[in-house]
Subunit: 338 residues, 2 copies
DNA sequence: CTGTTAGCGCTTTCAG
DNA sequence: CTGAAAGCGCTAACAG
């Protein structure tokens, strides 16, 4: 039933107004949730809009509102399946709440400032950072522009930004306690040479727990990168060292899979018989038949909920003090532990 | 050196103009690539802008330009690492070209129309679809609104939209020829019960090539889903069938990994000795030590380049006939073939 | 090269 | 509840 006007191009609220025989304001109100329009008027407008194929121009709307429904997501390390799960869940929640996520993949090393600047030009109403912790300066700038920043699994910072973390400390603790409970006598920690904040916390908690509950301190082996290859590399160091070891905590599943494969390839230390291994994150690959990795799960859905909740709360109350949400983790036992 | 005015809020071009002692137009021109401004003026403007912390409001700019730099990416199946690589590369290219990608994860099954509608409200200047082929109606609508659509690895459609495909036909052919060349006598095809367009083409080409070059036709086994579990499921069917078979083509690496693990778990058909297997896509996991999957590679960087090129070309020439870009593929031999 | 003027499409007071 | 009018921040035509 589309009635092409003479002039092509997108249909505006004025077109709809004319056809419905009302004013632009009436049209606007019809499409503004919670505005007062007579049911009669509303009906006429809706009908005209449908006939014409009208769509609100959100850009124009944002211009007056001073706030768009655009939200930036700054993400690095998309090769790690865990990161992907995070951003997928976050995007979905955002869209459910009628936001539109702008995805900004960032180099792992690169300073997120630049990318955040790019977002600011688009009047995003919020920025979610899952890459490196952005410098304080840019956070301050966002805040002073009224753009909330939510940091996911990032270090604390001296700026009023909200954070969502999973309970990294507990990850390390649970890993250590589980391995010891399963009878391991000499533990090892596998991590990356330049650990991010989360990894650092996991490491420290693990090492501390081992120190507290076991006579032998855990040994530490590292790979250059926080990925599959890094895990394999660390295992090579471990095997070369010829030191006794019967239980490993890998700070991420992504590294753990590399470690596990390297261990199996080598063959001297069958898992879990002579070597037990626990990862962290519960990426889908951990559950694959070929791996069956025991790990510590964090629920990316809950994480996404928390992130979006943080954002919404902040919109409602821009001047509230910065908050930190810590999400619980749980052990998932599969076949790499006894 | 930020000079807070009395009135807070974002700095506008007028603020900069005043401070630099010029008109708003001069400011606008300074920030418009390829506009003519006297170097002197430009300098003054830039300085004032920096002092004030000015940022162009792209939303306002888009409103006059009638075209934003927003580009929608509609993606499903983000659990498949290959999809993730695609969208990561595409996002990066887009950002390099100063676009901003809006990520719309879609349910695999769901009709992309709705999601595209959400994008249209934001005056996106293009839509890239890697999920299911959207219905013709919505494509028509995009086109008539001047919003180019680029389909990635999707079926052709009766609407003027550009497509980027990899050479799926060659994938199937190469797989068949390679397996036969390596001495396989009885081939099998593993695919999903409801194959997407790409998979269908790969299947058909594989089956056809086998029919042409081998006396025994290939057998087909399917899993319910196009994923790891689906691959494993198909292998179970294959093993249960008790039919002879010494070479498998899996239509995606993602399925192939599940197939490989199931085969190893079972143990009766060691790979590659008694069973050779070839996947397709070359996801990173295929190269993992634990898998070493022989596969057919498509270069996601080239794909991203082609997608963005299609978009740019279309901007330059909106009325050109629809194009299809087909990207070459190549065999990567690892350890699941002899 | 520069400033003035007139909108882009929408929302939002403010009277009626 | 409704319409008229003003303006969000920017750019594009046009004279100068």
């Amino acid at each position: 039933m589309k009635n092409d006007d003479d002039k092509a191009g997108p249909v505006t609220s004025l077109d709809v107004a004319k056809r419905a025989g009302v004013s632009r304001s009436a049209v606007s109100r019809t499409f503004t949730p919670g505005a007062s329009v007579a049911p009669e008027t509303r009906k006429k407008v809706l009908e005209a809009a449908k006939d014409l194929g009208y769509r609100v121009n959100q850009l124009a709307r944002s211009l007056t509102n001073k706030r768009s429904a655009l939200v930036g997501i700054v993400a690095a390390n998309l090769d790690n399946p865990f990161r992907v799960e995070q951003i997928e869940q976050i995007s979905r929640r955002l869209i459910e709440q009628n936001f539109r996520p702008i995805l900004m993949p960032a180099e792992a090393s690169e300073d997120p400032s630049h990318v955040i600047g790019l977002l600011l030009e688009y009047s995003v109403s919020g920025v979610i950072v899952t890459s490196d912790t952005p410098p304080q300066a840019i956070c301050q700038e966002c805040v002073s522009l009224g753009v909330p920043v939510v940091l996911v699994n990032k270090r604390d910072i001296d700026a009023p930004v909200d954070r969502v973390l999973m309970d990294n400390e507990n990850c390390g603790r649970i890993a250590a306690e589980t391995l010891l409970r399963q009878g391991c006598r000499q533990l090892a920690l596998i991590t990356s040479q330049s650990p991010s904040f989360s990894l650092e916390v996991r490491q420290t908690a693990f090492l501390q727990t081992v120190a507290d509950q076991c006579e032998r301190p855990a040994r530490v082996f590292t790979g250059r990168f926080q990925n599959y290859e890094g895990g394999a590399e660390a295992v090579h160091h471990l095997l070369q060292s010829d030191q006794v070891c019967d239980g490993i905590f890998c700070v991420t599943d992504y590294m753990a899979l590399g470690a596990l494969d390297a261990l199996r390839m080598d063959g001297r230390k069958p898992v879990p018989k002579l070597m037990q291994i626990i990862g962290c994150d519960d990426i889908r690959q951990a559950a694959w038949q070929g791996y069956g990795l025991t790990t510590i799960r964090q629920d990316t859905q809950k994480l996404a909920d928390a992130v979006v909740a943080a954002l919404l709360t902040r919109f409602a109350n821009p001047d509230a003090p910065a908050t930190t949400r810590i999400l619980p983790v749980s052990l998932i036992e599969r076949s790499t532990t006894l």
